[in-house]
Amino acid sequence: MMKFEEKARELRGNIISSLESAGSGHPGGSLSAIDILTVLYYKEMDISLENYDSQDRDHFILSKGHAAPALYAVLADKGFFDKKELLNLRKFSSMLQGHPDRLKTRGVDSSSGSLGQGLSIANGLALAKRQDNIDKKVYVLLGDGELQEGQVWEAAMTAAHYKLNNVIALVDHNGLQIDGSNDEVMAVNNIADKFKAFNWHVLEANGHDITSLIEAIEQAKTNKGAPTMILCETIKGKGVSFMENQVGWHGKAPSPEEAQRALSELKEVL
């Protein structure tokens, strides 16, 4: 599993660099999600430059669209666009918008960023695949704070009602949101039980442990009769000591000095 861990570390560095260059953006939730994205894009999903223009592939929707720097780091590394573009993140006329824009960035399967909407879109894509007898999956990554949006639960009902076992949702459960911890702002509580009560298969994983993520996703792929949710325990800002578990790093870019510190930490770990 070492190569995935090394890849995730490299991508963490690219996230930090792109955010430093942008001067704004969301490091905390990008770093908490990057191990999940690494496992999906480098191991579990059938998605590549070669099959991208076909519907006969897996799809991925980043419902927590503010983690765009993580998705961009992956897509650039996978060859969807030049890595140099990462330094144009959030800049005027850049292909890399502050939140994912399908019409501007090759590799983005759906525009997103307005929270609460990704699971509905995933359901629609999954229904289209079912219509066309395409035996592929639709993956969607949600934030835990995002679960406060009522539309998520509408979509949770729809996925279960139509028995969309080709929907695999992952929740990046880092426990923090803009105004504080989930518990302080609006406790979501018992996420696993809630999805179970909505007739979902529910799995739990350590969102920073490659083996744990692979096991959960591979089990999700074999589940029948219902959609699967994987509750991934994560740490906001994971990998950069001074960002870890800090609410303040939800939506603030590192200064050049802070970025340097972060990058040297990431190298030391390697």
Binding site: Q55, H59, D101, R102, L103, D109, S110, S111, G113, S114, G116, Q117, G118, L119, S120, I121, A122, N123, G124, L125, A126, L127, A128, K129, Q131, D132, V138, G150, Q151, E154, A155, M157, T158, H161, Y162
Partner: protein, 308 residues
Amino acid sequence: MKKATRQAYGETLLKLKDNKDLIVLDADLSAATKTDVFAKEVPNKFYNIGIAEADMMGTAAGLALGGKRPFASTFAIFGAGRAYEQIRNAIAYQNLNVTIAATHAGVTVGEDGGSHQAIEDIALMRVIPGMTIINPVDDLETEAAMEAIMQHEGPVYLRLGRLAVNRVHKEKQPFVIGKGEELLAGHHGTIIATGAMVQEALTAATLLQQENIFLNVINMPTIKPLDEALLLKIAKKTPWIITAEEHSIIGGLGSAVAEYLSEAYPIKLKKIGVEDRFGQSGNPEILKEHYGLTASAIIEQAKNMSIR
């Protein structure tokens, strides 16, 4: 021959059922939106999303990403109103081939009252970049418009009415999105109307002919993109324009016409529609009378315009 445009919507869906990309969605209103027959006859292309309009719009967006052409059906107030941001961000921002089929638009919903009467939906949809807005005049135009929509790239807001309305067209004509239609020619003034108000405009113009007042009547089924070429042509040959719509006078057809002509060729203009207020319960005919959405209201304004 009277038929509601929502009825024509349901019947046309059935006619289009062999199109492999067509998918119909509803939010627990299929008997009212007239998707129920389609649901029964083509169950594998129909999804009831329940009372969850925001989720329905997102699901429609996903279906379109998967290559489908979904028609998301609900009342105008719940589509344009409740699910506004889902329509904007999940559908229009990605320029997806989703049609929002919005029935029960305007005050003629009737007895359900002001909470259910969408009189600001055109305004809401107009400000969304790339949104096409179509408000058909009768059943034949609804069918033709839907055929055009199946070939159109991008989101469409299809505004439909609850009440049965008279046919304005004798037979189905090809529908060109973005084109208006001259129904009557005259030189004293012009009425530009959309949806059910076209019939009122025709009645008004016909009655005024007996008083030797001859008006142009324009049917404007596409409110966005607006037929600017036709507007300019009309503005240059007529002393004034009245617009008529079953919608607020703020932000609808009248505003669209005024916005364009005030820059391109300013002429005298009067907007007929619901003044800045909410609707209320009542028989639809009484409501039309109360809110000034009738031929007689148009006649009164036309005479005011002619005298001035």
